[in-house]
């Protein structure tokens, strides 16, 4: 029955709603974005074709580069911490004792909290006069006067925001690393123990090489996530000082919505999407290998 024409039609009928939805709400906007990026358009005036003008403008736009480089800086700062820290946590908690399992659960809790909400929480903790970070550091004698964490200096803001995001997402990598470490066949672990390998040798010669693909995958997922950062900066610094902490997505948002430069915003979006695409392709290739 399934091979008949009727079977095919029934299958297409089951598939149609999802396909129409994706065509309408993902493929069509994508096409429209490409079209918009070739026009100057502000909603008030009708769109005017400008060819690649918006892209040329982006490359000579100082703020575009400020945003892009700041996003890269943030990514470069946070990714190693997330990967090394997440891996260390995984090594610490991969055995299934009750305390380890509990630690795993606790470290993972912030992952399920919204980034917007966790950013608001840390916005308070890092507040100069009302926040507990300054209070703790003052009480410990590590600083002599309250630090202006957010929105005054780009690097200090970057550090504070990265701290909050590490707290929020470190459990993500940890849980995937734990999965990979636990998937190592126990015969291998036992063999190395019988051979008298030290813990350090086991980690560098056995565990790390056998979980390398997961490490790469988590690195890519983290890099993509960081390149798309928005909530934490919108909430904690609002791009201050002088849009120095406005990330790439933030700059797209500013152009498309408050400034209503729709064509330019679309061109910036497309540049961003292509950057991300490069990383996604690598991720998909790695995944494909892990399935075969």
């Amino acid at each position: 029955m399934r091979r008949s024409l009727r079977g095919r039609l029934v299958g297409i009928a089951y598939l149609a709603p999802a396909l129409i939805f994706v065509l309408a709400f993902t493929a069509y906007p994508l096409g429209q974005m490409v079209w918009m990026s070739l026009h100057n358009w502000s909603l008030i005036t009708p769109p005017r074709y400008v060819g690649l003008g918006n892209y040329e403008r982006a490359f000579s736009d100082t703020q575009f580069w400020v945003s892009f480089l700041f996003t890269l800086k943030y990514t470069a700062l946070i990714t190693p911490v997330l990967i090394v820290g997440g891996y260390a946590l995984a090594l610490l908690t991969s055995q299934n004792s009750p305390l380890r399992r509990f630690t795993r659960t606790v470290v993972f809790i912030p992952v399920v909290i919204g980034l917007g909400v966790s950013s608001l929480l840390w916005y308070w903790l890092f507040s100069t006069d009302f926040g507990l970070v300054n209070r703790i550091l003052l009480d410990l004698g590590l600083i002599s006067k309250p630090v202006l964490w957010l929105g005054v200096d780009a690097d200090t803001s970057n550090l504070a925001i990265s701290t909050s995001v590490v707290w929020k997402v470190i459990g993500f990598g940890m849980i995937l690393f734990v999965g990979a470490i636990q998937a190592i066949p126990s015969e291998i672990t036992e063999a190395t123990l019988v051979d008298g390998a030290s813990y350090r040798q086991r980690v560098t010669r056995v565990i790390l090489p056998l979980t390398l693909r997961t490490v790469l995958l988590v690195t890519l997922v983290s890099v993509i996530g960081s390149l798309l950062a928005f909530d934490q900066f919108y909430i904690m610094t609002a791009g201050q000082p002088q849009n120095e902490t406005a990330t790439s997505v933030f700059y797209v948002y500013l152009n498309s919505f408050p400034y209503l430069k729709l064509g330019y915003g679309a061109a910036l979006s497309l540049v961003l999407a292509l950057t991300i695409l490069a990383f996604t392709v690598i991720q998909l290739l790695l995944t494909r290998r892990s399935h075969s």
Partner: protein
């Protein structure tokens, strides 16, 4: 013989791991890590139950010196009132779950079991949103929503959230549907069941864990999502919880930020996610494992 050797080995391993100061030291490290991770949450809950004056004190106190629900009361009546924002967040999240399941369950069934021409190509098209980040598509989506009357609408935001969540959900469900034994399905069809009955009686009951995982991720994503809500909702009566809290940070009647109320709002936003996670941890972790290698 091998078994005895095996047992011996396992014992040596266990002994080596358990004995020694290292074990205690690592235990202490675990406790320290738990403390650091829980501290921000505990401090936020503490701040939310401080009396009004203490909540606004500078420098701040570590723990409440008096207990009060004033902050929650102020939040309850802030602008349109907490019930409106809770209803907006919850409504959007539930609509997202329903839309996601209505679209992906039949599609996963079709992809797993029907001989559709060009199936691989269709699957790639369906996963398009994996390749194009939604952050880049917001402008054209907003324009389309404006034409369709979907701005300032819970349904509109749910449509956006469904578009974000669809590839992951489809991926999980297709794998799960493919794993249903053919014999079960064939038995049902021998009994004269139509494909629709087979879906209802065989496939859905045997893929409950995957369906729960999909619903769980849809809920958490929608409840927490910020940028899309910021773009789709411009009327404050339609704001979701994270949006109104972000707004309250700068727009409080007292002039400065109402820190106590903000912490009350944060506490309320966090509770559902943490509860759902603790109750359905198994599904969450398994979803993550298969989803991250999507």
């Amino acid at each position: 013989m091998t078994a005895t050797l095996e047992l011996l080995r396992t014992r040596t391993v266990a002994v080596r791991i358990r004995v020694g100061r290292t074990g205690y030291l690592l235990g202490a490290v675990c406790v320290a890590i738990c403390t650091v991770m829980l501290l921000p949450l505990v401090l936020s809950v503490f701040a939310s139950v401080k009396p009004t004056a203490e909540a606004a004190a500078s420098p701040p106190t570590y723990y409440p010196h008096g207990l009060s629900l004033d902050s929650y009361q102020r939040l309850w009546t802030y602008q349109e009132g907490l019930p409106t924002y809770l209803a907006n967040s919850l409504g959007t999240a539930l609509l997202t779950i329903v839309l996601t399941l209505l679209l992906t369950v039949p599609a996963a069934y079709a992809l797993a079991r029907f001989p559709i021409p060009g199936k691989e190509v269709i699957f790639v098209v369906l996963l398009l949103a994996l390749i194009v980040p939604y952050q880049a598509l917001l402008t054209p989506m907003f324009l389309m929503f404006a034409k369709m009357g979907l701005t300032n609408s819970l349904l509109g935001l749910a449509v956006l959230h469904t578009a974000i969540q669809l590839p992951f959900s489809l991926y999980i469900l297709r794998n799960s549907f493919s794993a249903v034994p053919r014999e079960l399905e064939e038995a049902a069809i021998m009994d004269g069941a139509s494909s629709w009955q087979a879906l209802r009686r065989v496939f859905i009951p045997s893929t409950v864990p995957a369906i729960v995982t999909v619903a769980l991720f849809a809920f958490i994503m929608s409840w927490n999502e910020f940028l899309g809500a910021l773009v789709v909702m411009s009327r404050s009566s339609k704001f979701t919880l994270p949006l109104i809290l972000a707004t309250s940070r700068t727009e409080t009647s007292l002039g400065g930020t109402d820190w106590g109320m903000l912490q009350a709002g944060i506490t309320i936003s966090i509770i559902p996610c943490v509860l759902v996670y603790l109750l359905l941890q198994r599904y969450y972790v398994s979803g993550l494992m298969s989803g991250a290698v999507k």
